[in-house]
């Protein structure tokens, strides 16, 4: 089934640990995005990639890194997790442009303790 998949679904992580959230899509979309969702703050863009091999910073990039080695995968890494990174993380993909629909993964609920 075509779509976008995130893993894990949820995770409890000790502060200071490294964590990679995975995102894979099979729709051959060239653009991919990572958002965090916190109550009252909506969806805030962390990093994005318009094509394989390129990435860019969003609104809240500090403490996160991404890579885009191929079209399908866009992992998000927290090098040293802190409690303020407790959030629900969504990955999305679409064709690059002003008028293209984005598809979201089901989200990863991350708790940093």
């Amino acid at each position: 089934i075509a779509g976008i998949t995130q893993a894990p679904t949820s995770q409890i992580l000790a502060a200071g640990r490294r964590m990679t959230l995975r995102c894979t899509q099979d729709m051959r979309h060239n653009a991919m995005y990572w958002y965090r969702q916190d109550l009252g703050l909506g969806l805030r863009l962390i990093h994005y990639s318009n094509t394989a091999g390129t990435t860019g910073k969003g609104e809240v990039p500090d403490g996160y890194s991404v890579s885009r080695a191929n079209t399908d995968d866009f992992p998000l890494t927290l090098a040293s997790a802190v409690p303020s990174q407790t959030s629900v993380y969504f990955c999305a993909s679409r064709y690059t442009g002003v008028d293209t629909e984005a598809f979201f993964g089901q989200g990863t609920r991350l708790t940093v303790v």
Binding site: A31, Y33, Y35, G40, L41, G42, L43, R44, L45, Y48, N50, G56, G58, E59, F90, A92, R94, T96, G97, V98, D99, T100, E101, A102, F103, F104, G105, Q106, G107
Partner: protein
């Protein structure tokens, strides 16, 4: 830069109407609307383009005022299924096509 949405929340009875506004300090070429049900991922509703027509999705429609750099989402004769959080988003060529969203408007429709 994130677009600004208002109101933050609205409570309706079935059959009532509501309007959600989305504005930006920058010139807009497109406005995207998504809805997120509790515990689920956001789902696409519609995109409005500068110079384009007003769009509709069931009894949910939207308009785009280019001069005011504002879009409005209209929930007409609301149904229980309209409950959720509505997000507006912007994607501009001048901003590397980043898809940025507002803080959302939570809509609760009661019987």
């Amino acid at each position: 830069q994130q677009p600004v949405q208002s109101p933050q929340a609205v409570i309706l009875r079935e059959g009532e109407d509501a309007v959600i506004n989305c504005s930006s300090s920058k010139a807009l070429y497109s406005v995207h609307w998504y809805r997120q049900k509790h515990g689920e991922a956001p789902v696409f509703l519609m995109i409005l383009l500068k110079g384009g027509e007003q769009k509709g999705h069931d009894k949910i429609s939207a308009s785009f005022n280019e001069k005011k750099q504002q879009s409005s989402l209209y929930l007409t004769a609301s149904q229980l299924s309209y409950s959720g959080t509505y997000f507006c988003g912007t994607s501009e060529r001048s901003n590397d096509y980043k898809l940025s969203f507002g803080a959302g408007t939570t809509v609760t429709v009661r019987a």
